[in-house]
């Protein structure tokens, strides 16, 4: 097993996977408690559109997918704020739009099948040093925003009282949606677009089951996400399974474990 840590592609996958899992676990607690779990799916499909555009333009996927997904995230937040429509409706519309655009872009490329498969389901073989750098930057930004945790948590609990306390709640909504978009794109290579929203949702949901304080939930989600990513990547290498699916299956196993623990505590 030790040889897997010496393989360059595994090193890249492990670093990118664990870093993005840490970050997704952190942002995930806000996503879950704000009832925005569907946002993860919406942004993932926006990332698909962005990656497809990059392939069409023959560019490095990250440089196109990041701005593309960020623009969709901002549009979702803006339309939600202005239109009075439910978050799920607005996300659903942009989800479909980005996916449709992605399919149109891919249809214009003669040989897209392999690339598309890698985007949709993740492939540790395709993780480049650029992806590792992106994961490191995303984690660095998350660390830099740690002082905002208290404001975000406050607005997550009760937006109205946070506004009444003159916190910059609207600015933070946009900031959080941009950070989520970037995290989703950074994690796409390892987990795949199809499963990436689980990266945001499952660790936070599992943590919610076994904690009584939001700070404990945040810490648990981060540790849970990173552990599942590490174990999932090693498992996928040893058992020759797709990396994203292996990580998510382990997360689901952990979630069931947390359900049992919560049930035992309550009975």
């Amino acid at each position: 097993m030790s040889e897997l840590f010496s393989l360059a592609f595994m090193q890249r996958a492990l670093i990118a996977g664990v870093l993005t899992a840490l970050t997704a676990g952190y942002y995930g607690v806000f996503v879950v408690q704000r009832g925005l779990s569907f946002l993860g799916s919406g942004l993932a499909h926006a990332a698909f559109g962005g990656v497809a555009l990059a392939l069409l333009l023959n560019q490095e996927p990250l440089w196109v997918a990041v701005p593309f997904t960020v623009i969709v995230a901002l549009l979702i937040t803006w339309v939600r704020e202005r239109s009075g429509l439910g978050a799920d409706t607005v996300i659903g519309i942009f989800f479909a739009l980005a996916m449709a655009l992605g399919i149109v872009f891919l249809s214009r490329i003669p040989t897209y099948a392999t690339d598309a498969f890698a985007i949709l389901f993740g492939s540790i073989l395709t993780v480049s040093w650029a992806d590792v750098t992106a994961a490191a930057v995303v984690t660095g930004v998350a660390l830099a925003t740690l002082p905002l945790w208290g404001n975000w948590a406050y607005a997550t609990f009760d937006r109205e009282t946070a506004l009444a306390d003159k916190l910059p709640v609207r600015r933070d909504d946009y900031l959080l949606s941009v950070l989520l978009a970037v995290t989703v794109v950074a994690a796409a290579k390892v987990v795949g677009i199809v499963l990436i929203s689980a990266f945001l949702v499952i660790p936070a949901a599992a943590a919610r089951l076994v904690t009584r304080r939001f700070s404990a939930m945040t810490l648990t989600a981060v540790v849970f996400g990173a552990t599942a990513a590490l174990a999932g990547l090693i498992g996928s290498y040893l058992l020759d399974l797709p990396s994203g699916a292996t990580i998510i299956l382990l997360q689901c196993l952990g979630f069931v474990g947390c359900l049992v623990v919560a049930w035992l505590k309550n009975h």
Partner: protein, 253 residues
Amino acid sequence: MYNMHAIVTTGLTVNLGIHRALEGVDLRVETGSFVVITGPNGAGKSTLLRVILGLVHFSTGSVQVFGKPPAQVSRDALAYVPQIKTLDRSFPALSCELVASGFCHRWPWRVSHQAHSAAVEALELVGGVHLAHRPLSELSGGELQRVYLARALVREPSLILLDEPATGIDMAGESDMYRILDDYHRHRTVTILMVTHDALAAQYHASHALLLNRRVISYGPAREALAAEQLGQAFGHGMHTHLNCDCERGGDV
């Protein structure tokens, strides 16, 4: 500087989309008053609170809170108690954390010693020290209302704004809430504005009443402002029968 008036509005008009929520509201609330705000649904009661909090922009007129525009008022001066029925009970939090959030103006990662002492002191005022380490999800409506009151009192505010605080709690909980507010009001220089549908209960506690139906129908000492004639004007029927029979509470008046 001591302000004679906690709140002064002049010709306050608020449009929410195409709906006119408040129209030409002139109001002078003296510092230290306990004002109950009542009126029919859609009368602009909650909107008025939200304007004072700086959450809603007004179209015309002016609003001064302690002599300043709402956006410039220190956040320590104001405490807001929202409707508890709108709260997210699934949020993992202990009561003392919620109270401490009122002290720190942010959610505490760890409740500091200073914030914890302040939270316990505020919980003592509402008779809720035993709730300090209980999760919010395990509290009854009445208990949660006490914790929310403690969250408001912990910052020793000059102005407390409550939005239908009796909704979702039982009679005993409501009477506890009034006792806590009455006690606090008696011992501190604090102005209280409370939106309620239950004018009957409120008139025994409030010093003043504001009867609103987008415009000011009446404002003054509670019993005078809530006289039958004014209520009839606001609600369009003889509310005095309800007020005198002591048989309806909690619903629309």
